[in-house]
Symmetry: C2
Subunit: 239 residues, 2 copies
DNA sequence: AGGTAGAGAGAGCGGTGCTCTCGTTTCAAC
DNA sequence: GTTGAAACGAGAGCACCGCTCTCTCTACCT
């Protein structure tokens, strides 16, 4: 826990300013988008001259990194909150909850979603050591569902081996890293579900369906979700 | 056909300059990305002063629109070329060809792909009247596959009705617009396949898997493709 | 109490999109 | 063939951007 007691006033002021920068940055991100995020504008809203914010943030890219981490954490929290009331053996329910929470958060925070999962910001590469941790929370939850479903025998799976060998080698490494026992084929299915889920969400958030094609895009998402649950071998109904 | 004969020299020079602008714009897009696309830099490469290019292109956004249309057309051509040698009744083959051609083009032109299917460029909205036409070529091809497979009875489909009613109403309108006879449920499945396909491609192009997780991401894509074919009810194998 | 490090202000550099004005060239109507 | 309009390119200029440097002031630690 970041405790601000027994800190010098200057240090507390610094923490406050840091929080303000992230807050104002997120506001600008929401209103103008990632590429239009301007350190000078943040400084103006902060009541500072532009050069002063460089005392806190080394560069525009570093501000972006702060917002990326902040966004991943918020999405992770939203997913965790949606998962909280569910039984551990309600595998379909957990998958559906993850998907719905992701979509809801993405629609509520489209700019941050775009920053995390959209086109990379040109010239900016998120530093892996800061972003992979929070960035893998959602897929981590997905993996947990897979693993539990596998352990409970609640997932249907033909035993065709995965090909080619280099893919099964890669998948084995992934399995080892995250510590799961489910077979390669299941991990690959999980990755497919992950990518497909974000494809559905991105299409909606990024407006690929067109503006007025669907009166409530949520209906279509629910259908996609049902298809996804089925495709993945968790053969119960979504609702 | 845009014929440049019996045109005044000035008009032909204008056409050439237009082509040059798009060409140089695409180069910059590929090397620096969409948000870093600078009209001034294009002007420099063109040997013109920045204000002069405003004789040809009204704004940076209009240049983006030109590149969007150009990109959609190139992707559409790539997909058409991949489809050309295939039999009309090879439904799985056509779906797989569309998917592979899309992925290949996206990996070859990541910046243009990002411009078309990634986060929207802030402050820029693609004018629908110019972009929806070329922008729907790929999904149009997908729909053709669906329709043919349906007509040939080569697609498995349970007859659960689509819910809720407003979704089936929307889908009916879409069906009417594109003139297909396949049932709602199939159209929805097609949209799911579309979104899931682009989710898989985007994850790879945008680097969501991490840099060194897979020795050849193409292996994983092929697996995803097999899952997609299965999920969609075209129950043959992909290879 | 004094030295140091942090904080903010301001000027400045080179870049951006875009506008305006100014000569020059081209084209087409007469 | 002349002439007037339209197209064209150049240049200056505006407001903005990221970022650096220097300056002053003040809070903090020893």
């Amino acid at each position: 826990m970041a405790d601000s007691s027994n800190l010098t006033p200057r240090a507390r002021a610094r923490e406050q300013t840091m929080r303000d920068i992230v807050r104002i940055g997120r506001e600008h991100l929401a209103t103008e988008g990632a590429a239009a995020l301007s350190l000078r504008a943040v400084a103006r809203d902060l009541g500072l001259v532009s050069s002063a914010v460089y005392r806190y943030v080394a560069s525009r890219d570093e501000l972006l990194t702060l917002l990326v981490v902040n966004g991943y954490d918020e999405l992770g929290d939203a997913v965790d909150a949606a998962l909280e009331p569910l039984d551990r053996d309600d595998h379909v329910g957990r998958l559906v909850a993850i998907a719905r929470a992701t979509r809801a958060w993405a629609l509520a925070e489209p700019a941050t979603y775009a920053l995390l999962f959209g086109s990379p910001v040109p010239g900016y590469e998120a530093p892996a050591e800061q972003t992979t941790g929070p960035g893998t929370r959602v897929v981590g939850r997905l993996v947990e569902v897979w693993e539990d479903a596998w352990q409970a025998g609640a997932i249907s799976l033909d035993d065709a081996p995965i090909t080619p060998r280099r893919l099964s080698r890669d998948l084995a490494r992934v399995r080892k890293q995250v510590g799961i026992t489910a077979p390669d084929r299941l991990v690959a299915r999980g990755l497919f579900a992950w990518a497909a889920l974000f494809g559905c969400v991105s299409f909606e958030v990024f407006g690929q369906y067109g503006a007025d094609t669907f009166t409530d895009p949520g209906d279509l998402f629910e259908h996609h979700l049902a298809a996804l649950v089925e495709a993945v071998g968790l053969a119960q109904q979504a609702r």
